[in-house]
């Protein structure tokens, strides 16, 4: 019987004593967006795996924090960790996400996180 070699020990070794995502610090290059930037969530295919919530696609929000560097979920879930990306915390008006959201609560917001590939300038 032939066995495929699945090496996941490199990840444990890299993160031990440092933490994850801290172990990817400095690997993503310059961040494309900064705090205060308006961004739109891209409508990329979400085949097989993603952690980008579908209800945010196409919505415009504002970056509140450039949070950390890490491989995107779509890569890391198959252990492809060579290309970390910046992650951003983005705040949306609830009204932007849910057309039927009551006007009475027009100041309500929702904040969630994205890897850089999911964002573009509006």
């Amino acid at each position: 019987m032939s066995k495929i070699e699945h090496d996941r020990t490199h990840h444990a070794a890299k993160a031990t004593g440092i933490g994850d995502p801290q172990c990817f610090h400095g690997e993503a290059g310059p961040a494309k967006f900064k705090v205060g930037d308006e961004v739109r969530v891209r409508n990329l295919p979400d085949l097989f795996y993603t952690r980008c919530q579908v209800y945010t696609r196409g919505a415009v929000g504002r970056v509140t924090e450039v949070v950390y560097e890490s491989p995107a979920a779509e890569d890391e879930s198959w252990d492809n960790t060579d290309q970390p990306e910046w992650f951003y915390s983005v705040v949306f008006r609830q009204k932007e996400l849910w057309p039927d959201y009551p006007d009475l609560y027009e100041n309500d917001t929702l904040e969630t996180e994205f890897s850089e590939r999911w964002l573009e300038a509006p």
Partner: protein, 145 residues
Amino acid sequence: MSESTREQVMRHLETVGYLQPALHKPQHAPYPDQIDHNLYRAYTRSAHDVGGEPDVPITWEEKEEEQWELNTFATCECLAWRGVWNAEERRRRQNVDLGQTQYLGLPYYGRWLLTAARILVDKQYVTLTELVNKIDEVKRRHEQD
């Protein structure tokens, strides 16, 4: 562009809602022309991406973890520590790969446990034959007690 994406999103959320009560709308092995893009996207989406779907309230229960649930958590963490998977691969497998029926139908740590067994088989740490024989052995031992 943005407006049509938003319209798409709202339609998608409505469509995945149909998939949930599968008992009300059975569909088995449809012909290709019965699946339009809208349905295709709904079927192939990540099963855990449920935010915004129409649903009914569920009962909140204040409840401690059971012992097997704690054991399952520790087992899965050990599998990561020993390099069998990383956390994101575990999430993919237990939240998405097992499919919508199991994602919605099994308890939270039931999905963890099933996935821990599955990865050991997938990556050839144990054979399915060994696993099945072990389950059978434990089952019979348990029946004798």
